[in-house]
């Protein structure tokens, strides 16, 4: 089954001269390239010519009055909401693609912004070495001091999560909370 050309829906409006100038130029250019649309347009124009070549049927005034009355009653039966929906549907072919694209771009921007704020641009975004949010997990593989009078050690605390690598010096009394010399 042939996939309908996306310009097909504009052909009737184009034939009737009802398209906005920009879209009209696009359809014109397309029809020059697309055989299927050119053929369809010829068909629409041929139908128009046939219709125009026949004059309006002779109808008596009484018949027109009766027709208008029936039409009014019929329209009154149609729900206002359904009439509104019908009008919106009629407008879709021209405006909906533009609006849909705008929504898509806006949604993409929101997603990108969310990810950037979560991760940070290029991974080196606004970062100030803060310890509050980041995990401070640290594994000490080796530790040594090559200078005389220094003794290295390390310990890890859970709250706050922090590893401390400390070099005890013979010159000073320690200040590590809890077990260090000179602790409170």
């Amino acid at each position: 089954m042939r996939r309908p050309c996306r310009f097909e829906r504009y052909l009737t409006a184009f034939a009737d001269g009802e398209l906005p100038e920009r879209l009209k130029r696009k359809v014109e250019a397309h029809v020059e390239r697309c055989e299927a649309c050119a053929s369809e347009l010829d068909s629409i124009r041929a139908s128009d010519r046939i219709l125009k070549s026949h004059g309006a049927p002779a109808v008596s005034n009484d018949r027109w009055a009766q027709f208008r009355n029936e039409l009014k009653l019929g329209l009154d039966d149609v729900d206002r909401d359904s009439r509104r929906v019908a009008r919106v549907r009629e407008a879709r072919p021209v405006y909906a693609p533009v609006r849909r694209r705008a929504y898509a771009v806006a949604a993409a921007c929101v997603v990108a912004l969310f990810v950037i704020l979560s991760v940070g641009p290029l991974g080196i975004g606004p970062w100030h070495g803060e310890t509050a949010a980041a995990s401070n997990e640290c594994i000490v593989d080796s530790i040594e001091s090559l200078a005389a009078g220094y003794t290295p050690m390390f310990f890890s605390s859970q709250d706050p999560e922090m590893t401390v690598i400390w070099v005890f010096s013979e010159e000073v009394e320690g200040g590590i909370r809890g077990e260090g010399p000179g602790a409170k």
Binding site: A108, A132, E137
Partner: protein, 173 residues
């Protein structure tokens, strides 16, 4: 709807790819904050509160929880981008310096930065009896650590001024 999904997917992939490419760019950002921790003389201690330099910001809570000093004074803060094949030396007050040599990021799929950290102190020494002072460096501390990407480790202990030097070393790849 289909357009929305396609555009969102592309944006999401591009944004997620950005940090990944940075992580594989073989460099990390290192920040070193220098602090002096000191005790008051015994006669002045009493019940006075711990003096915290406001510039210490997020480190204040960690310092007071882990150490028993009476005051913490901010000295300096330096930041540098360090290549994995390279080492960077941060100059610190009073002839101290610290060398950071990142070695690996994310070994075995973990989010840990492996690095060699060396704390030096320059010591002026005479050379060949000519009375010319040539600074040499004592290695006060050499340690190989694996630090969580974006995390901080505290190093300290060497005497400086009227207290001890404390360094907050943060790294992010």
């Amino acid at each position: 709807m289909r357009t929305t999904v396609i555009v969102c997917s592309i944006a999401l992939l591009m944004t997620l790819a950005a940090p990944a490419s940075a992580a594989s760019s073989r460099e990390i950002v290192v920040e070193v904050t220098s602090i002096v921790a000191a005790k008051r003389p015994a006669s002045e201690r009493g019940e006075a509160p711990v003096e915290l330099d406001p510039r210490l910001g997020p480190f204040s809570k960690n310092l007071t929880s882990l150490f028993a000093y009476d005051s913490y004074t901010f000295l300096s803060k330096d930041r540098a981008v360090v290549q994995f094949s390279d080492a960077t030396v941060f100059g610190l007050p009073e002839h101290f310096s610290i060398e950071i040599a990142p070695q690996q990021l994310g070994r075995d799929g973990s989010d840990m930065i492996e690095m060699l950290v060396t704390l030096f102190r320059e010591v002026p020494r005479g050379k060949g009896g000519q009375g010319r002072a040539t600074p040499e460096r004592d290695v006060i501390l050499r340690t190989k650590i694996r630090l969580k990407n974006g995390g901080t480790v505290l190093l300290g202990g060497p005497p400086i001024r009227a207290g001890v030097l404390v360094l907050a070393l943060s790294a992010r790849g």
